[in-house]
Symmetry: C2
Subunit: 223 residues, 2 copies
């Protein structure tokens, strides 16, 4: 979303065919250490010239200044990165609702555990994380339209993607919670109206949510 918002030139290597030296084989060569002395542990990673940067939060902190999607001052940059790492934790916990026993097993083999985990997630963690971002917007000295500073930054885009995923996975829970987080909801609506984001969401570069991804809609886990 950061690359799309900024109109940057990029290739989503994993979604290309393997024919042109791209696709999954190109990614595997990096993970195996055949292409670099600095192999990431896992996707996603960004290659920019000779630089290889792993982890969404690290990629965004690399791209932020280059795409003008983070304020200039050091304090704002550490703050934005801390918020992104909080979203990382939030998304990991959301994923683990459908995979509490382990990522190597199918959901169907951990349905009972998932149901227990979903209860704890809905009772405590989901309202706590969303309420935190509502509070961050309320506290922002530059106004409540953005999470960091007075302009759009990458962390606003990341919150958009997280809320979109949560609405897909847990439509009932989110319908129940959203009246309590009006500033988050307004920010998400505002991001979704941006021209480059709208174009991206309508394009085939955008992957829709599904039960193969991080955010999965299993009705029995939506309270």
């Amino acid at each position: 979303m950061a690359l799309e918002e900024a109109g940057a030139d990029y290739i989503d290597v994993g979604r290309e065919s393997g024919k042109d030296g791209l696709g999954i084989p190109a990614i595997t060569a990096f993970l195996d250490g055949d292409e670099t002395s600095y192999p990431p542990f896992a996707p996603p990673f960004l290659k920019a010239g000779e630089l290889v940067v792993s982890h969404v939060a690290n990629i965004l902190q690399f791209l932020g200044p280059r795409l003008q999607l983070v304020p200039e001052d050091e304090a704002s940059r550490f703050w934005a990165h801390g918020l992104q790492l909080t979203l990382t934790d939030f998304v990991a916990e959301t994923h683990d609702v459908h995979h509490p026993v382990g990522t190597g097993l199918y959901y169907e083999d951990q349905k009972d555990e998932s149901r227990r985990r979903a209860q704890a997630f809905h009772d405590e963690r989901l309202p706590k994380f969303l309420g935190y971002f509502e509070q961050v917007l309320a506290n922002n000295p530059a106004g409540d339209a953005h999470l960091v500073g007075a302009k759009l930054s990458y962390i606003d885009l990341s919150l958009y993607q997280t809320v979109a995923g949560l609405r897909y996975a847990f439509p009932k829970a989110m319908a129940h919670l959203e009246p309590n987080i009006p500033k988050v909801t307004a920010l998400v609506a505002q991001v979704g109206e941006r021209k480059n984001i709208r174009d991206y969401l309508d394009s085939d570069r955008h992957q829709t949510f599904s039960e193969d991804g991080i955010f999965r809609h299993y009705p029995e886990l939506d309270v």
Copy 2:
């Protein structure tokens, strides 16, 4: 460990008594947003002057250049931070072995789920993560004594702490695995011999592992 290795001046606020405006109440005031417009979601966080930095990985990326515990060039810094975020993922998965259903419940209320999760952890994740760091040492163009560059960096200290925690939590599993990761084991031994680290480990500033922490020794989860 980074602060101790560098001989930096710091206060571990949460372990002070509440009398001098320190202790848990001082931390709570930050989390509630009473002391800053930039409240972290959760501990740990670092306060350095007016700056508040959350998350271990973000704190270490802030401290690294200031304590000379990371190389100067940009590529090494993004690489070190990516490795730290990989350790973050590793430690989170290790924690979730004893808390698969949720952090809000006691271990005793999720023992069956923990046993299943431990199996998947020992079969796949533990050897995969440790093998990755062995490979990173083997690949390092500056030699296999350190993870990044030719000198000690904060990521070496973090790997030390992770391996120490794993040895405490899973002594049998680690005894079985360690012959396969000689470079990791050598680095951990080397870090443990450093004067400032030895002094720290022997001091009452150092918290020992226990069943209240991230790394817990439950014999039934050690395969």
